[in-house]
Protein backbone atom coordinates (compact mmCIF):
# COMPACT_ATOMS: atom_id res chain seq x y z
CA UNK A 1 0.00 0.00 0.00
CA UNK A 2 2.38 2.63 1.22
CA UNK A 3 5.20 0.71 -0.35
CA UNK A 4 5.17 2.53 -3.67
CA UNK A 5 5.90 5.78 -1.85
CA UNK A 6 8.79 4.28 0.09
CA UNK A 7 10.35 2.96 -3.12
CA UNK A 8 11.43 6.43 -4.18
CA UNK A 9 13.66 8.38 -1.85
CA UNK A 10 13.89 12.01 -3.00
CA UNK A 11 16.97 12.81 -0.87
CA UNK A 12 19.44 12.66 -3.75
CA UNK A 13 22.47 13.87 -1.79
CA UNK A 14 21.99 11.11 0.76
CA UNK A 15 21.56 8.46 -1.94
CA UNK A 16 24.70 9.64 -3.67
CA UNK A 17 26.56 9.46 -0.38
CA UNK A 18 25.43 5.87 0.14
CA UNK A 19 26.61 5.21 -3.40
CA UNK A 20 30.01 6.63 -2.52
CA UNK A 21 30.26 4.45 0.58
CA UNK A 22 29.44 1.35 -1.43
CA UNK A 23 31.95 2.28 -4.11
CA UNK A 24 34.52 2.13 -1.34
CA UNK A 25 33.12 -1.21 -0.11
CA UNK A 26 33.36 -2.73 -3.61
CA UNK A 27 36.90 -1.41 -3.97
CA UNK A 28 37.84 -3.03 -0.66
CA UNK A 29 36.39 -6.35 -1.86
CA UNK A 30 38.59 -6.20 -4.96
CA UNK A 31 41.57 -5.46 -2.76
CA UNK A 32 40.89 -8.60 -0.65
CA UNK A 33 41.75 -10.78 -3.64
CA UNK A 34 44.67 -8.66 -4.87
CA UNK A 35 46.22 -8.14 -1.43
CA UNK A 36 45.91 -11.86 -0.60
CA UNK A 37 47.84 -12.63 -3.76
CA UNK A 38 50.52 -10.09 -2.86
CA UNK A 39 50.85 -11.35 0.74
CA UNK A 40 51.00 -14.94 -0.51
CA UNK A 41 53.74 -14.18 -3.04
CA UNK A 42 55.77 -12.00 -0.65
CA UNK A 43 55.57 -14.62 2.07
CA UNK A 44 56.76 -17.37 -0.27
CA UNK A 45 59.58 -15.27 -1.74
CA UNK A 46 60.81 -14.22 1.71
CA UNK A 47 60.80 -17.77 3.04
CA UNK A 48 62.01 -19.56 -0.04
CA UNK A 49 64.53 -17.31 -1.80
CA UNK A 50 67.38 -17.87 0.72
CA UNK A 51 67.06 -21.62 0.10
CA UNK A 52 67.01 -21.36 -3.65
CA UNK A 53 70.28 -22.32 -5.32
CA UNK A 54 71.59 -24.38 -8.16
CA UNK A 55 72.09 -27.24 -5.71
CA UNK A 56 68.39 -27.12 -4.84
CA UNK A 57 67.56 -27.89 -8.47
CA UNK A 58 70.17 -30.62 -8.94
CA UNK A 59 70.08 -32.41 -5.56
CA UNK A 60 67.82 -35.28 -4.58
CA UNK A 61 65.54 -34.99 -1.54
CA UNK A 62 67.32 -35.66 1.71
CA UNK A 63 66.76 -35.90 5.44
CA UNK A 64 69.18 -33.00 5.82
CA UNK A 65 67.41 -29.84 4.66
CA UNK A 66 70.62 -28.01 3.72
CA UNK A 67 71.49 -30.51 0.97
CA UNK A 68 67.93 -31.46 -0.04
CA UNK A 69 66.82 -30.67 -3.57
CA UNK A 70 63.93 -31.09 -5.93
CA UNK A 71 65.63 -32.87 -8.83
CA UNK A 72 63.66 -36.13 -8.83
CA UNK A 73 60.35 -34.30 -8.47
CA UNK A 74 61.19 -31.82 -11.22
CA UNK A 75 62.23 -34.53 -13.65
CA UNK A 76 59.12 -36.52 -12.66
CA UNK A 77 56.95 -33.50 -13.44
CA UNK A 78 58.63 -33.09 -16.84
CA UNK A 79 58.12 -36.78 -17.65
CA UNK A 80 54.46 -36.78 -16.61
CA UNK A 81 53.70 -33.50 -18.40
CA UNK A 82 55.37 -34.61 -21.64
CA UNK A 83 53.36 -37.84 -21.70
CA UNK A 84 50.15 -36.03 -20.71
CA UNK A 85 50.60 -33.59 -23.60
CA UNK A 86 51.30 -36.52 -25.92
CA UNK A 87 48.04 -38.24 -24.91
CA UNK A 88 45.65 -35.30 -24.56
CA UNK A 89 46.50 -33.16 -27.58
CA UNK A 90 45.58 -35.68 -30.32
CA UNK A 91 42.53 -37.01 -28.46
CA UNK A 92 41.34 -33.58 -27.33
CA UNK A 93 41.72 -32.03 -30.77
CA UNK A 94 40.12 -35.10 -32.37
CA UNK A 95 37.10 -34.84 -30.10
CA UNK A 96 36.85 -31.10 -30.78
CA UNK A 97 37.02 -31.70 -34.55
CA UNK A 98 34.28 -34.30 -34.30
CA UNK A 99 32.00 -32.04 -32.25
CA UNK A 100 32.58 -28.93 -34.37
CA UNK A 101 32.95 -30.33 -37.89
CA UNK A 102 31.20 -33.70 -38.04
CA UNK A 103 28.66 -34.15 -35.26
CA UNK A 104 25.03 -34.11 -36.35
CA UNK A 105 22.57 -32.36 -34.02
CA UNK A 106 21.16 -35.33 -32.17
CA UNK A 107 20.77 -36.88 -28.74
CA UNK A 108 24.21 -38.54 -28.80
CA UNK A 109 25.99 -35.26 -29.54
CA UNK A 110 24.03 -33.57 -26.77
CA UNK A 111 25.00 -36.36 -24.38
CA UNK A 112 28.68 -35.99 -25.28
CA UNK A 113 28.54 -32.22 -24.75
CA UNK A 114 26.77 -32.39 -21.38
CA UNK A 115 29.16 -35.15 -20.35
CA UNK A 116 32.24 -33.06 -21.15
CA UNK A 117 31.04 -30.07 -19.16
CA UNK A 118 30.21 -32.34 -16.22
CA UNK A 119 33.62 -34.00 -16.35
CA UNK A 120 35.21 -30.57 -16.02
CA UNK A 121 33.50 -30.26 -12.62
CA UNK A 122 34.48 -33.64 -11.17
CA UNK A 123 36.88 -33.18 -8.20
CA UNK A 124 40.46 -34.05 -9.14
CA UNK A 125 40.82 -36.59 -6.31
CA UNK A 126 38.06 -38.65 -7.96
CA UNK A 127 40.26 -38.91 -11.07
CA UNK A 128 42.97 -40.13 -8.72
CA UNK A 129 40.68 -42.91 -7.49
CA UNK A 130 39.80 -43.78 -11.09
CA UNK A 131 43.46 -43.92 -12.06
CA UNK A 132 44.33 -45.99 -9.05
CA UNK A 133 41.58 -48.53 -9.68
CA UNK A 134 41.91 -48.62 -13.47
CA UNK A 135 45.60 -48.19 -14.28
CA UNK A 136 47.39 -49.27 -11.09
CA UNK A 137 45.14 -52.14 -10.05
CA UNK A 138 43.08 -53.49 -12.98
CA UNK A 139 45.75 -52.94 -15.66
CA UNK A 140 48.40 -53.67 -13.00
CA UNK A 141 50.81 -51.03 -14.25
CA UNK A 142 51.96 -50.31 -10.72
CA UNK A 143 52.71 -46.86 -9.35
CA UNK A 144 54.52 -45.66 -12.47
CA UNK A 145 54.94 -42.53 -14.62
CA UNK A 146 52.59 -43.89 -17.30
CA UNK A 147 49.71 -44.40 -14.83
CA UNK A 148 50.18 -40.86 -13.50
CA UNK A 149 50.28 -39.38 -17.00
CA UNK A 150 47.16 -41.28 -18.11
CA UNK A 151 45.28 -40.11 -15.01
CA UNK A 152 46.24 -36.47 -15.56
CA UNK A 153 45.35 -36.85 -19.25
CA UNK A 154 41.80 -37.81 -18.35
CA UNK A 155 41.69 -34.88 -15.90
CA UNK A 156 42.69 -32.21 -18.43
CA UNK A 157 40.96 -33.74 -21.46
CA UNK A 158 37.69 -31.79 -20.96
CA UNK A 159 39.65 -28.52 -20.73
CA UNK A 160 41.63 -29.29 -23.90
CA UNK A 161 38.43 -30.23 -25.75
CA UNK A 162 36.62 -27.04 -24.70
CA UNK A 163 39.60 -24.83 -25.66
CA UNK A 164 40.09 -26.61 -29.01
CA UNK A 165 36.39 -26.29 -29.82
CA UNK A 166 36.55 -22.57 -29.22
CA UNK A 167 39.61 -22.27 -31.46
CA UNK A 168 37.94 -24.28 -34.24
CA UNK A 169 34.70 -22.34 -33.91
CA UNK A 170 36.63 -19.08 -34.35
CA UNK A 171 37.79 -20.11 -37.84
CA UNK A 172 35.66 -18.09 -40.31
CA UNK A 173 33.17 -20.22 -42.21
CA UNK A 174 34.35 -18.69 -45.50
CA UNK A 175 37.56 -20.72 -45.19
CA UNK A 176 35.54 -23.94 -45.20
CA UNK A 177 33.23 -22.81 -48.00
CA UNK A 178 36.22 -21.75 -50.07
CA UNK A 179 37.93 -25.09 -49.62
CA UNK A 180 34.73 -27.02 -50.41
CA UNK A 181 34.29 -24.87 -53.52
CA UNK A 182 37.72 -25.96 -54.68
CA UNK A 183 36.55 -29.57 -54.50
CA UNK A 184 38.14 -30.57 -51.21
CA UNK A 185 36.45 -33.29 -49.20
CA UNK A 186 35.65 -32.91 -45.51
CA UNK A 187 39.00 -34.17 -44.24
CA UNK A 188 40.92 -32.02 -46.72
CA UNK A 189 38.94 -28.99 -45.59
CA UNK A 190 39.79 -29.71 -41.95
CA UNK A 191 43.42 -30.48 -42.67
CA UNK A 192 44.03 -27.68 -45.14
CA UNK A 193 41.77 -24.84 -44.02
CA UNK A 194 40.44 -25.29 -40.49
CA UNK A 195 43.36 -26.71 -38.50
CA UNK A 196 46.09 -24.35 -39.75
CA UNK A 197 44.19 -21.30 -38.56
CA UNK A 198 42.96 -22.98 -35.35
CA UNK A 199 46.36 -24.27 -34.20
CA UNK A 200 47.48 -21.15 -32.27
CA UNK A 201 44.24 -21.17 -30.30
CA UNK A 202 44.51 -24.89 -29.68
CA UNK A 203 48.10 -24.48 -28.48
CA UNK A 204 47.13 -21.67 -26.10
CA UNK A 205 44.32 -23.75 -24.61
CA UNK A 206 46.53 -26.81 -24.29
CA UNK A 207 49.29 -24.90 -22.50
CA UNK A 208 46.75 -23.46 -20.05
CA UNK A 209 45.29 -26.94 -19.46
CA UNK A 210 48.74 -28.40 -18.83
CA UNK A 211 49.57 -25.58 -16.43
CA UNK A 212 46.55 -26.69 -14.44
CA UNK A 213 47.79 -30.28 -14.45
CA UNK A 214 51.31 -29.34 -13.38
CA UNK A 215 50.05 -27.98 -10.05
CA UNK A 216 47.75 -30.91 -9.30
CA UNK A 217 48.83 -33.07 -6.40
CA UNK A 218 45.62 -34.82 -5.36
CA UNK A 219 45.11 -37.18 -8.33
CA UNK A 220 48.82 -38.00 -8.58
CA UNK A 221 49.17 -38.74 -4.88
CA UNK A 222 46.69 -41.60 -5.25
CA UNK A 223 48.89 -43.03 -8.02
CA UNK A 224 52.45 -42.37 -6.88
CA UNK A 225 51.97 -42.37 -3.08
CA UNK A 226 54.40 -40.33 -0.98
CA UNK A 227 57.60 -41.90 -2.20
CA UNK A 228 61.07 -40.82 -1.28
CA UNK A 229 62.96 -41.06 -4.57
CA UNK A 230 66.65 -40.57 -5.13
CA UNK A 231 66.58 -41.33 -8.83
CA UNK A 232 65.15 -39.81 -11.97
CA UNK A 233 62.61 -41.92 -13.89
CA UNK A 234 64.38 -43.51 -16.87
CA UNK A 235 61.28 -44.72 -18.70
CA UNK A 236 57.47 -44.55 -18.36
CA UNK A 237 57.47 -47.68 -16.19
CA UNK A 238 59.59 -46.21 -13.40
CA UNK A 239 58.34 -45.00 -10.07
CA UNK A 240 58.03 -41.25 -9.86
CA UNK A 241 57.05 -38.22 -7.86
CA UNK A 242 56.05 -34.72 -8.97
CA UNK A 243 56.79 -31.23 -7.64
CA UNK A 244 53.47 -30.55 -5.87
CA UNK A 245 53.81 -33.85 -4.00
CA UNK A 246 57.38 -33.07 -2.96
CA UNK A 247 56.16 -29.69 -1.70
CA UNK A 248 53.29 -31.37 0.18
CA UNK A 249 55.82 -33.76 1.70
CA UNK A 250 58.00 -30.88 2.95
CA UNK A 251 55.03 -28.82 4.22
CA UNK A 252 53.96 -31.78 6.31
CA UNK A 253 57.23 -31.96 8.26
CA UNK A 254 57.34 -30.21 11.61
CA UNK A 255 60.83 -28.62 11.25
CA UNK A 256 60.95 -25.02 10.06
CA UNK A 257 63.77 -25.71 7.60
CA UNK A 258 61.58 -28.08 5.61
CA UNK A 259 58.81 -25.49 5.48
CA UNK A 260 61.33 -23.11 3.92
CA UNK A 261 62.33 -25.83 1.47
CA UNK A 262 58.64 -26.12 0.59
CA UNK A 263 58.61 -22.37 -0.12
CA UNK A 264 61.68 -22.75 -2.35
CA UNK A 265 59.94 -25.60 -4.20
CA UNK A 266 56.84 -23.43 -4.60
CA UNK A 267 58.97 -20.67 -6.18
CA UNK A 268 60.27 -23.13 -8.78
CA UNK A 269 56.75 -24.44 -9.43
CA UNK A 270 55.28 -20.94 -9.75
CA UNK A 271 58.14 -19.89 -12.05
CA UNK A 272 57.34 -22.80 -14.39
CA UNK A 273 53.62 -21.96 -14.23
CA UNK A 274 54.19 -18.27 -14.99
CA UNK A 275 56.45 -19.16 -17.92
CA UNK A 276 53.76 -21.41 -19.37
CA UNK A 277 51.09 -18.76 -18.90
CA UNK A 278 53.28 -16.09 -20.47
CA UNK A 279 53.86 -18.40 -23.42
CA UNK A 280 50.10 -18.86 -23.80
CA UNK A 281 49.49 -15.10 -23.66
CA UNK A 282 52.21 -14.42 -26.25
CA UNK A 283 50.72 -17.04 -28.58
CA UNK A 284 47.25 -15.60 -28.09
CA UNK A 285 48.40 -12.07 -28.88
CA UNK A 286 50.28 -13.09 -32.02
CA UNK A 287 47.26 -15.04 -33.20
CA UNK A 288 44.87 -12.17 -32.53
CA UNK A 289 46.94 -9.64 -34.49
CA UNK A 290 47.27 -12.05 -37.38
CA UNK A 291 43.58 -12.77 -37.75
CA UNK A 292 42.79 -9.04 -37.80
CA UNK A 293 44.65 -8.23 -41.01
Amino acid sequence: MAKSKVNFDPRLARRKMIGGVFYFVFLCAVMVGILSLLVLLTRILMEGLPWLSLGFLTNYPSRHPEIAGIRSAMMGTIWVMALTALFTVPVGVGAAIYLEEYAPKNRLTQLIEINISNLAGVPSIVYGLLGWALFVQIMSMGRVVLAGALTLSLLVLPIVILASREAIRAVPNEYRLGAFALGADQWQVIKGAVLPSAIPGILTGTILALSRAIGEAAPVIAISALVYLTFVPADPFDQFTVMPIQIFNWVGRPQDDFQSLAAAGIIVLLAILLTMNALAVILRNRYQTRSED
Binding site: A29, G33, I214
Partner: protein, 316 residues
Protein backbone atom coordinates in the same frame (compact mmCIF):
# COMPACT_ATOMS: atom_id res chain seq x y z
CA UNK B 1 28.44 -45.25 -43.84
CA UNK B 2 25.36 -43.05 -43.85
CA UNK B 3 26.58 -40.98 -40.93
CA UNK B 4 29.75 -40.01 -42.77
CA UNK B 5 27.81 -38.72 -45.71
CA UNK B 6 25.68 -36.59 -43.44
CA UNK B 7 28.67 -35.42 -41.49
CA UNK B 8 29.19 -32.06 -43.09
CA UNK B 9 27.64 -30.06 -40.27
CA UNK B 10 30.42 -27.55 -40.77
CA UNK B 11 28.98 -25.67 -43.63
CA UNK B 12 26.14 -24.25 -41.63
CA UNK B 13 23.39 -22.94 -43.81
CA UNK B 14 24.54 -24.90 -46.81
CA UNK B 15 24.28 -28.14 -44.96
CA UNK B 16 21.56 -29.80 -46.99
CA UNK B 17 23.20 -28.90 -50.30
CA UNK B 18 26.58 -30.24 -49.22
CA UNK B 19 24.95 -33.39 -47.91
CA UNK B 20 23.47 -34.10 -51.34
CA UNK B 21 26.74 -33.34 -53.03
CA UNK B 22 28.68 -35.62 -50.70
CA UNK B 23 26.23 -38.45 -50.91
CA UNK B 24 26.51 -38.56 -54.67
CA UNK B 25 30.25 -38.95 -54.50
CA UNK B 26 30.04 -41.64 -51.84
CA UNK B 27 32.33 -41.80 -48.84
CA UNK B 28 35.79 -43.18 -49.44
CA UNK B 29 37.30 -45.70 -47.08
CA UNK B 30 39.79 -43.08 -45.91
CA UNK B 31 37.12 -40.58 -44.89
CA UNK B 32 35.16 -43.30 -43.12
CA UNK B 33 38.22 -44.26 -41.08
CA UNK B 34 38.88 -40.61 -40.26
CA UNK B 35 35.27 -40.13 -39.14
CA UNK B 36 35.54 -43.10 -36.81
CA UNK B 37 38.82 -41.87 -35.31
CA UNK B 38 37.32 -38.49 -34.44
CA UNK B 39 34.11 -40.06 -33.21
CA UNK B 40 36.02 -42.37 -30.88
CA UNK B 41 38.01 -39.40 -29.52
CA UNK B 42 34.73 -37.72 -28.61
CA UNK B 43 33.32 -40.93 -27.13
CA UNK B 44 36.39 -41.31 -24.91
CA UNK B 45 34.97 -38.60 -22.65
CA UNK B 46 31.76 -40.57 -22.24
CA UNK B 47 33.87 -43.66 -21.53
CA UNK B 48 35.74 -41.70 -18.83
CA UNK B 49 32.49 -40.98 -17.02
CA UNK B 50 31.45 -44.61 -17.33
CA UNK B 51 34.84 -45.69 -15.97
CA UNK B 52 34.61 -43.26 -13.03
CA UNK B 53 31.14 -44.49 -12.09
CA UNK B 54 32.11 -48.12 -12.61
CA UNK B 55 35.35 -48.00 -10.64
CA UNK B 56 33.74 -46.13 -7.74
CA UNK B 57 30.59 -48.26 -7.71
CA UNK B 58 32.24 -51.67 -7.95
CA UNK B 59 34.56 -51.08 -5.00
CA UNK B 60 31.93 -49.18 -3.03
CA UNK B 61 29.52 -52.09 -3.52
CA UNK B 62 31.93 -54.54 -1.97
CA UNK B 63 32.18 -52.09 0.95
CA UNK B 64 28.39 -51.93 1.28
CA UNK B 65 28.24 -55.71 1.32
CA UNK B 66 29.94 -55.58 4.72
CA UNK B 67 28.65 -52.25 6.03
CA UNK B 68 25.03 -51.23 5.62
CA UNK B 69 24.26 -48.20 3.47
CA UNK B 70 22.18 -46.72 6.26
CA UNK B 71 24.95 -47.18 8.82
CA UNK B 72 27.32 -45.41 6.40
CA UNK B 73 24.98 -42.51 5.62
CA UNK B 74 23.65 -41.87 9.10
CA UNK B 75 26.45 -42.97 11.45
CA UNK B 76 28.12 -40.25 13.49
CA UNK B 77 31.40 -42.01 14.26
CA UNK B 78 34.11 -42.53 11.62
CA UNK B 79 36.89 -44.79 12.87
CA UNK B 80 37.61 -47.18 9.99
CA UNK B 81 41.25 -47.79 10.98
CA UNK B 82 41.09 -47.76 14.79
CA UNK B 83 39.22 -50.27 16.92
CA UNK B 84 36.36 -50.29 17.69
CA UNK B 85 35.73 -49.74 13.99
CA UNK B 86 32.78 -47.62 13.00
CA UNK B 87 31.74 -46.52 9.53
CA UNK B 88 29.46 -43.52 9.90
CA UNK B 89 30.46 -41.00 7.24
CA UNK B 90 28.70 -37.97 8.77
CA UNK B 91 31.79 -36.62 10.58
CA UNK B 92 33.62 -36.40 7.23
CA UNK B 93 30.58 -34.76 5.60
CA UNK B 94 30.39 -32.40 8.58
CA UNK B 95 34.04 -31.41 8.13
CA UNK B 96 33.62 -30.91 4.39
CA UNK B 97 30.51 -28.76 4.78
CA UNK B 98 32.04 -26.73 7.63
CA UNK B 99 35.05 -25.75 5.52
CA UNK B 100 32.85 -25.10 2.46
CA UNK B 101 30.54 -22.94 4.60
CA UNK B 102 33.45 -20.85 5.92
CA UNK B 103 34.79 -20.52 2.37
CA UNK B 104 31.36 -19.39 1.17
CA UNK B 105 31.15 -16.71 3.89
CA UNK B 106 34.42 -15.27 2.57
CA UNK B 107 34.05 -15.84 -1.15
CA UNK B 108 30.39 -15.12 -1.95
CA UNK B 109 30.18 -11.49 -0.72
CA UNK B 110 33.74 -10.63 -1.74
CA UNK B 111 33.40 -12.33 -5.12
CA UNK B 112 30.05 -10.68 -5.87
CA UNK B 113 31.29 -7.24 -4.80
CA UNK B 114 34.39 -7.73 -6.96
CA UNK B 115 32.18 -8.69 -9.90
CA UNK B 116 29.96 -5.60 -9.40
CA UNK B 117 33.05 -3.39 -9.26
CA UNK B 118 34.57 -4.94 -12.38
CA UNK B 119 31.35 -5.00 -14.42
CA UNK B 120 29.81 -1.66 -13.39
CA UNK B 121 32.42 0.67 -11.92
CA UNK B 122 35.96 -0.10 -13.03
CA UNK B 123 37.36 1.84 -16.00
CA UNK B 124 38.99 -0.29 -18.69
CA UNK B 125 42.51 0.48 -17.48
CA UNK B 126 41.79 -0.84 -13.98
CA UNK B 127 40.03 -3.92 -15.31
CA UNK B 128 43.06 -4.75 -17.43
CA UNK B 129 45.18 -4.90 -14.27
CA UNK B 130 42.74 -6.60 -11.90
CA UNK B 131 41.47 -9.36 -14.16
CA UNK B 132 44.88 -10.95 -14.90
CA UNK B 133 45.75 -10.69 -11.19
CA UNK B 134 42.59 -12.61 -10.32
CA UNK B 135 43.45 -15.15 -13.01
CA UNK B 136 46.82 -15.68 -11.35
CA UNK B 137 45.01 -16.15 -8.03
CA UNK B 138 42.85 -18.81 -9.68
CA UNK B 139 45.88 -20.53 -11.20
CA UNK B 140 47.91 -20.92 -8.01
CA UNK B 141 48.22 -24.66 -7.21
CA UNK B 142 46.23 -25.75 -4.18
CA UNK B 143 49.32 -27.12 -2.41
CA UNK B 144 50.54 -23.53 -2.32
CA UNK B 145 47.31 -22.43 -0.65
CA UNK B 146 47.81 -25.22 1.86
CA UNK B 147 51.29 -23.96 2.64
CA UNK B 148 49.91 -20.41 2.99
CA UNK B 149 47.12 -21.51 5.34
CA UNK B 150 49.39 -23.58 7.55
CA UNK B 151 52.44 -21.32 7.80
CA UNK B 152 50.90 -17.85 7.56
CA UNK B 153 47.15 -17.67 8.21
CA UNK B 154 47.09 -20.10 11.14
CA UNK B 155 49.81 -18.27 13.14
CA UNK B 156 47.99 -14.96 12.52
CA UNK B 157 44.70 -16.47 13.71
CA UNK B 158 46.40 -17.90 16.78
CA UNK B 159 47.12 -14.35 17.89
CA UNK B 160 43.35 -13.77 17.98
CA UNK B 161 42.43 -17.21 19.31
CA UNK B 162 45.38 -18.26 21.51
CA UNK B 163 43.82 -21.65 22.32
CA UNK B 164 43.40 -22.65 18.70
CA UNK B 165 45.36 -25.71 17.61
CA UNK B 166 47.57 -25.71 14.51
CA UNK B 167 45.22 -27.76 12.32
CA UNK B 168 41.79 -26.15 12.20
CA UNK B 169 38.81 -25.64 9.94
CA UNK B 170 38.87 -21.83 10.20
CA UNK B 171 42.25 -21.26 8.56
CA UNK B 172 41.54 -23.76 5.78
CA UNK B 173 38.07 -22.24 5.26
CA UNK B 174 39.33 -18.66 4.98
CA UNK B 175 42.09 -19.58 2.52
CA UNK B 176 39.67 -21.75 0.55
CA UNK B 177 37.39 -18.71 0.36
CA UNK B 178 40.23 -16.61 -1.07
CA UNK B 179 40.93 -19.41 -3.53
CA UNK B 180 37.39 -19.47 -4.95
CA UNK B 181 36.90 -15.66 -5.10
CA UNK B 182 38.08 -15.58 -8.77
CA UNK B 183 35.58 -18.29 -9.69
CA UNK B 184 32.64 -16.37 -8.18
CA UNK B 185 33.80 -13.02 -9.54
CA UNK B 186 34.54 -14.09 -13.11
CA UNK B 187 31.30 -16.08 -13.60
CA UNK B 188 29.18 -13.36 -11.94
CA UNK B 189 30.91 -10.65 -13.95
CA UNK B 190 30.18 -12.53 -17.19
CA UNK B 191 26.51 -12.70 -16.21
CA UNK B 192 26.36 -8.99 -15.35
CA UNK B 193 28.16 -7.91 -18.52
CA UNK B 194 25.58 -9.72 -20.64
CA UNK B 195 22.78 -7.63 -19.12
CA UNK B 196 21.83 -5.22 -21.93
CA UNK B 197 22.84 -1.58 -21.68
CA UNK B 198 19.25 -0.47 -22.27
CA UNK B 199 18.22 -1.69 -18.80
CA UNK B 200 20.90 0.47 -17.17
CA UNK B 201 19.96 3.46 -19.32
CA UNK B 202 16.32 3.06 -18.33
CA UNK B 203 17.28 3.02 -14.65
CA UNK B 204 19.40 6.14 -15.01
CA UNK B 205 16.59 7.84 -16.91
CA UNK B 206 14.31 7.16 -13.95
CA UNK B 207 16.79 8.94 -11.72
CA UNK B 208 18.56 5.98 -10.11
CA UNK B 209 22.11 6.41 -8.87
CA UNK B 210 24.93 4.16 -10.04
CA UNK B 211 24.64 2.00 -6.93
CA UNK B 212 20.87 1.66 -7.29
CA UNK B 213 21.25 0.71 -10.94
CA UNK B 214 23.88 -1.89 -10.14
CA UNK B 215 22.20 -3.48 -7.12
CA UNK B 216 18.50 -3.12 -7.96
CA UNK B 217 18.59 -3.58 -11.75
CA UNK B 218 21.74 -5.30 -12.98
CA UNK B 219 22.20 -7.82 -10.16
CA UNK B 220 18.56 -9.06 -10.26
CA UNK B 221 18.77 -9.31 -14.06
CA UNK B 222 21.94 -11.39 -13.80
CA UNK B 223 20.74 -13.40 -10.80
CA UNK B 224 20.69 -16.81 -12.52
CA UNK B 225 24.35 -16.49 -13.51
CA UNK B 226 25.30 -15.20 -10.06
CA UNK B 227 23.51 -18.01 -8.23
CA UNK B 228 25.12 -20.54 -10.59
CA UNK B 229 28.54 -19.08 -9.83
CA UNK B 230 27.86 -19.50 -6.10
CA UNK B 231 26.80 -23.12 -6.54
CA UNK B 232 29.76 -24.04 -8.75
CA UNK B 233 32.21 -22.33 -6.38
CA UNK B 234 30.85 -24.22 -3.37
CA UNK B 235 31.00 -27.45 -5.36
CA UNK B 236 34.65 -26.66 -6.06
CA UNK B 237 35.23 -26.09 -2.33
CA UNK B 238 33.67 -29.46 -1.51
CA UNK B 239 35.95 -31.28 -3.94
CA UNK B 240 39.13 -29.41 -3.01
CA UNK B 241 41.75 -31.71 -1.55
CA UNK B 242 45.29 -30.58 -0.83
CA UNK B 243 44.46 -27.39 1.05
CA UNK B 244 42.29 -29.18 3.61
CA UNK B 245 44.67 -32.13 3.83
CA UNK B 246 47.51 -29.80 4.78
CA UNK B 247 45.73 -27.28 6.99
CA UNK B 248 42.47 -28.66 8.40
CA UNK B 249 43.70 -31.74 10.23
CA UNK B 250 42.89 -35.44 10.29
CA UNK B 251 40.33 -35.69 13.09
CA UNK B 252 36.89 -36.71 11.80
CA UNK B 253 34.37 -35.30 14.24
CA UNK B 254 30.89 -33.83 14.45
CA UNK B 255 31.42 -30.18 15.22
CA UNK B 256 30.27 -26.74 14.21
CA UNK B 257 33.21 -25.03 15.88
CA UNK B 258 35.58 -23.64 13.23
CA UNK B 259 38.47 -23.65 15.71
CA UNK B 260 38.36 -27.46 15.89
CA UNK B 261 40.55 -29.81 13.96
CA UNK B 262 38.39 -31.73 11.50
CA UNK B 263 38.75 -34.05 8.51
CA UNK B 264 37.07 -33.67 5.16
CA UNK B 265 36.06 -36.46 2.78
CA UNK B 266 38.85 -35.56 0.37
CA UNK B 267 41.48 -35.41 3.13
CA UNK B 268 40.43 -38.88 4.30
CA UNK B 269 40.90 -40.27 0.80
CA UNK B 270 44.42 -38.83 0.67
CA UNK B 271 45.24 -40.13 4.15
CA UNK B 272 44.27 -43.67 3.17
CA UNK B 273 45.87 -43.42 -0.27
CA UNK B 274 49.15 -42.55 1.44
CA UNK B 275 49.03 -45.49 3.82
CA UNK B 276 49.43 -48.91 2.23
CA UNK B 277 45.90 -50.24 2.53
CA UNK B 278 45.81 -53.75 1.11
CA UNK B 279 43.92 -54.00 -2.18
CA UNK B 280 40.43 -55.37 -1.57
CA UNK B 281 40.49 -54.84 2.20
CA UNK B 282 37.62 -53.09 3.92
CA UNK B 283 39.76 -49.98 4.64
CA UNK B 284 40.75 -49.83 0.98
CA UNK B 285 37.12 -49.96 -0.06
CA UNK B 286 36.07 -47.20 2.36
CA UNK B 287 37.81 -44.60 0.19
CA UNK B 288 35.76 -45.64 -2.81
CA UNK B 289 32.56 -45.37 -0.78
CA UNK B 290 33.63 -41.88 0.37
CA UNK B 291 34.75 -41.06 -3.18
CA UNK B 292 31.37 -42.14 -4.54
CA UNK B 293 29.58 -39.90 -2.04
CA UNK B 294 31.87 -37.00 -2.99
CA UNK B 295 31.26 -37.62 -6.70
CA UNK B 296 27.48 -37.71 -6.21
CA UNK B 297 27.49 -34.52 -4.08
CA UNK B 298 29.55 -32.48 -6.54
CA UNK B 299 27.67 -33.88 -9.54
CA UNK B 300 24.32 -32.85 -8.03
CA UNK B 301 25.62 -29.35 -7.31
CA UNK B 302 27.08 -28.95 -10.80
CA UNK B 303 23.85 -30.15 -12.43
CA UNK B 304 21.92 -27.76 -10.18
CA UNK B 305 24.22 -24.94 -11.30
CA UNK B 306 23.62 -25.63 -15.00
CA UNK B 307 19.89 -26.04 -14.35
CA UNK B 308 19.69 -22.67 -12.58
CA UNK B 309 21.37 -20.98 -15.54
CA UNK B 310 19.05 -22.63 -18.08
CA UNK B 311 15.83 -22.39 -16.08
CA UNK B 312 16.07 -18.82 -14.86
CA UNK B 313 17.96 -17.17 -17.64
CA UNK B 314 16.32 -13.97 -18.81
CA UNK B 315 16.30 -13.90 -22.57
CA UNK B 316 17.45 -10.55 -23.94
Amino acid sequence: METTARGAATVRGDRAATGRFRRRRGASLESRVIWWVFFLCAMLSVLTTVAIVFSLLSQALSFFREVGVWEFISGTRWTPILKPRSYGVLPLVNGTLLVAFLAAIVALPVGLATAIFLAEYAPDKVRRIIKPALEVLAGVPTVVYGYFALTFVTPQLQRVFPDMIVFNALSAGIVMGIMIIPMVSSLSEDAMISVPRSLRQAAYALGATKLETSVKVVVPAALSGIVASFILAISRAIGETMLVTIAAGATPRMTANPLDSIQTMTAYIVQLALGEAAHGSLEYNTIFAVGLLLFVMTLCMNLLGYWVVRRWRQAY
